[in-house]
Subunit: 189 residues, 2 copies
C-alpha cells in the first residue's frame, strides 16, 4: 500500500565526514544520524515511500565525486531494495532530475526531509519543494550543518547557521518539526 507521505534523504553520503567541512568549527546535532535512522525505520515499518537523493559532484576535488569513497551512502541510512535513488549534480534535488515528475506521478505530495547540510542542499531543496506546491516537513534534529563565517567575516557557529536557516524556511516553505513529531504524525495513520 503506497502513501502520499514520502521521506527524502538529502546527500547523506560518507563525504560529509570529510575534514574540510570542519575547517571553521564543529557541526551541530550530533544525534542527527540516529534521528535519520529512526525516521527511516518508521517509514519502512509503514512501507511508505523513501527517496535517497545522492549528490554526484562534478567538481574534481569534491569528496562527493563519483568514484571517491565519500560518494557512498552512510551505511546507517543506505537504500534498501525498492527505495528510490535519485542522482543530482546541483544543490537542488529538483534540478536536472526527474524527482518532481516521479513524486507527482506516484502521488507523493507530502514530503518529510532530512539530511545535509541544512543551509545548502537541504535548504535549496526545501525552498523549491515548497514553491512547487509540495507540503514539506523539515526534521530539524535529523539534519545538521557546520560553522562558517558570514559575509562580514564574523564566525557563526553551526548552531546559529542551522537555526537561522530553519527560521528562514519555517512557515514560508515548510513546517519545521522534530523527529519525534514526524514519527507521531506517522503513528496517526
Amino acid at each position: 500500500m503506497d502513501s502520499a507521505e514520502a521521506l527524502l534523504f538529502i546527500d547523506v553520503q560518507q563525504a560529509i565526514e570529510d575534514a574540510k567541512w570542519n575547517r571553521y568549527g564543529p557541526r551541530n546535532n550530533s544525534e542527527a544520524e540516529r534521528n535519520m535512522k529512526r525516521l527511516l525505520d518508521g517509514w519502512r515499518a509503514k512501507r511508505w515511500p523513501v527517496y535517497h537523493i545522492r549528490h554526484d559532484s562534478l567538481e574534481p576535488d569534491s569528496p562527493y565525486r563519483p568514484g571517491q569513497p565519500g560518494h557512498d551512502f552512510k551505511p546507517e541510512v543506505a537504500p534498501a531494495a525498492g527505495e528510490t535513488v535519485i542522482a543530482k549534480r546541483t544543490n537542488s534535488a529538483f534540478i536536472g532530475t526527474d524527482l518532481e515528475a516521479t513524486l507527482r506521478e506516484r502521488g507523493h505530495t507530502i514530503l518529510t526531509v532530512c539530511g545535509v547540510i541544512t543551509n545548502n542542499s537541504v535548504e535549496t531543496t526545501v525552498r523549491m519543494a515548497g514553491n512547487l506546491g509540495f507540503t514539506v516537513y523539515l526534521a530539524e534534529d535529523a539534519c545538521f550543518t557546520f560553522a562558517r563565517p558570514d559575509w562580514e567575516g564574523r564566525l557563526c557557529p553551526a548552531e546559529l547557521v542551522h537555526a537561522l536557516s530553519l527560521a528562514n524556511l519555517h512557515g514560508e516553505y515548510c513546517t519545521v518539526v522534530t523527529t519525534e513529531q514526524a514519527l507521531a504524525r506517522l503513528r496517526l495513520f
Copy 2:
C-alpha cells in the same frame, strides 16, 4: 543591440515599506534603493535587458496582494517601456513563470540580481538561477532585509541575516559583488 547581461529586480514594490517588516527591528542597507537606481541607470544607458519581477501575493492580508497600494512598484525603479515585467506568486521568480524560458530564448545568460528581501525571494531566486546554470551576480548593497529571530528565538539583526545569506550564496550559487563592481563590469563593454 541586445546583451547577455540582464538586470533582475526582485519584488521592489511599495509593500516593502509596510510596518510589519520592522516588527523585530530595522532593515539594513538604507542606501539600497539608491544603488538599485544606479544599476538601472547603467543598464538603461547600455540598452541592456532589464527584468522586473513583481510579487502577486495570493495571501489575503499581504501588502503584496494585487489591488493593494503596496502592489505597485517603488517609483525610483519602476519599469520603463520595453522592460519586461514578470509576475510571480511564490518566492522563486522561476516557479510558475516563463522567466527561465524567456531568458534562454533571448540569450540572457548572465544575471545581475538586486531587490528584496535578501534571505527570502532574492535568495530563493539566486539559488535556483545558479542551479539552473545561469551566471549570477548578486549586488550586496542593492538588496536588504530585516531583523528576525532564529529558530531558537535569538534575535538576529538585519545585518547578520543579510550577511549569512550572502555567505551561503557566494561561490555556491552566485558571485556577490558591490553595485560599484557591477557597474565597473558594465563599463568594460
